[in-house]
């Protein structure tokens, strides 16, 4: 048997291996997670400081310094006390609004899913409702319902309503039809299908809707109060009061507090969502 001579063609190139890189350790992972947002934050603070330095002295009050914020707002117990009390008022408006919009929105989502004709009938008006500038109808709500707690709750409900029925409907519609066939083969009725298959399967989508709604709720509550100055109100009222009293540091403090509330609620819902769905749902298990 003749020996073969093996040759490579002229165009053959040799590719070298790349050694395995070890996975990053906990310190490295922490640094890569924390450093980028911190740098971005510092840049934003720098930008704020730069814009402030460009302001003429008589307009400096518009952008309080860190020192001003501390001395005029966050170091004063009475301001902290006010922030706390008003936050509670704002939260209670937000929660009551959600207590209206979430059950109502879920009911409408379920009805739209159950009866296709209702989806045809209702969905365009949901979109229309969403397109109304809510700020613009607050005076109307005021004229109709007065200045009490109820109109503010209604405003929050309007702000937070849209995301609930739409996400629920989407979730219910994207159920596995095979699972529904299993229910049909056992002669199960639509209530059983909804309870045992539809709602669990739609829960992650619905929860995404909750996250949108609940963080909108604080915005809605603060906004609603800008128009209602009677009585002891929440953070929105504090914003207006601080402006009229020319205490811009306190105004900023109220703004920071309301953002913190929104972010806090968002984080809580994200956390609860992960807790509920990470064991089985893809969207929740991968994050960040």
């Amino acid at each position: 048997m003749a020996l073969k001579t093996l040759t490579r063609s002229a165009r053959t190139q040799t590719y070298k291996p790349v050694p395995v890189t070890p996975p990053p350790g906990p310190v490295k992972r922490f640094v890569s997670a924390v450093v980028p947002p911190v740098i971005m934050g510092l840049l934003l603070i720098g930008l704020y400081a730069w814009v402030r330095s460009q302001l003429p002295p008589h307009r400096l009050f518009l952008m309080p310094s860190a020192q001003g914020l501390w001395e005029q707002a966050f170091s004063k117990p009475e301001v902290l006390q006010e922030l706390w009390e008003r936050s509670l008022v704002t939260i209670s408006i937000a929660v009551c609004g959600l207590a209206v919009s979430i059950p109502l929105g879920m009911a409408i989502g379920i009805v739209m899913f159950r009866f296709h004709v209702m989806e045809r009938a209702v969905f365009p008006y949901l979109v229309a409702l969403q397109s109304i500038p809510i700020l613009a109808i607050i005076p109307l709500i005021q004229s109709a319902l007065g200045f009490g707690f109820l109109p503010k709750v209604l405003i929050v409900a309007l702000f937070t309503f849209f995301a609930v029925p739409t996400t629920l409907l989407l979730g219910l519609k994207s159920q596995d039809p095979g699972i529904l066939n299993l229910f049909r083969l056992q002669g199960a009725g639509w209530r059983k299908m909804l309870w045992k298959a539809g709602l669990p399967s739609a829960a992650p989508a619905l929860f995404a809707g909750f996250r949108i709604s609940t963080s909108m709720a604080i915005i809605g509550a603060v906004t609603s109060e800008l128009f209602f100055l009677a009585g002891k109100g929440g953070l929105g009222q504090m914003l207006i009061n601080a402006k009229t009293e020319f205490k811009y540091e306190q105004m900023y403090a109220a703004l920071i507090a309301s953002s913190a509330l929104s972010i806090g609620i968002f984080l809580i819902f994200t956390w609860v969502g992960n807790l509920l769905f990470s064991s089985w749902h893809e969207s929740a298990s991968r994050r960040g």
């Binding site: 699972i179 049909r184 059983k192 045992k196 669990p200 399967s201 089985w280």
Partner: protein, 256 residues
Amino acid sequence: MNALVEQSEPSVEIALQFDAVSMEFPDGTIALDEVDLTVERGEFVSVVGPSGCGKSTLLKLASGLETHTGGEIHVDRSHLGYTFQDATLMPWRTVLPNVELLMELRGVPAEERRRIAMEQIALVGLEGFEDHYPKRLSGGMKMRASLARSLALEPNVFMFDEPFGALDEITRERLNDELIELYLRKGFTGLFITHSIPEAVYLSSRVVVMSRRPGRIIAEYDVPFEWPRTPELRYDPEFTRLAGEISVALRKALEG
């Protein structure tokens, strides 16, 4: 009913009968055209045919998921097993409550359904995976869980809609053997849809060939091999000859 059955012939119970069954969709396409098919109790019948010929429709009609537009279907639907092309497990439930689902829908008390579910899980070889979510199971394990779920109802007729089509060859052959074991043990009547001729021959006591749409039954083959069947059978000349014959019939179906 024909009362004049000859005394000497043993009477055979019919598990499922299609009597000139047709299925026409509202847009006018005819999925099935006067299909006659009789499945005796304890038989395992596979249906092969070109894709889109209405094989799956056959199962949907028999099970009542869809309603036929002509002819008659005779079947006892009270204990029906049904597996789909994918495992259709509920991703939010672990294996055990998934296997319990059908019993739950039928109102079987919790303790009893747990006991039965554990038995079926053991039967399909999923012990130790009761608390696993489907996303952590392999394709073959998901299918086993799906089979266990149907077995829990002690089905007298078990329908399979290409259940192993998405699995790799090795897993598929293993599940074929496991299915034969379950069939011999439980004695259900099987109606199995597949596009794999070797799978059809390996599993069945009879193979039925359907034409392309509108679907009709154009040929039937009795499969003579002994039970239980072993993997070596796949390389038996007689097996190859029968599979080849069915393959020719199927090609004719595609042309004609």
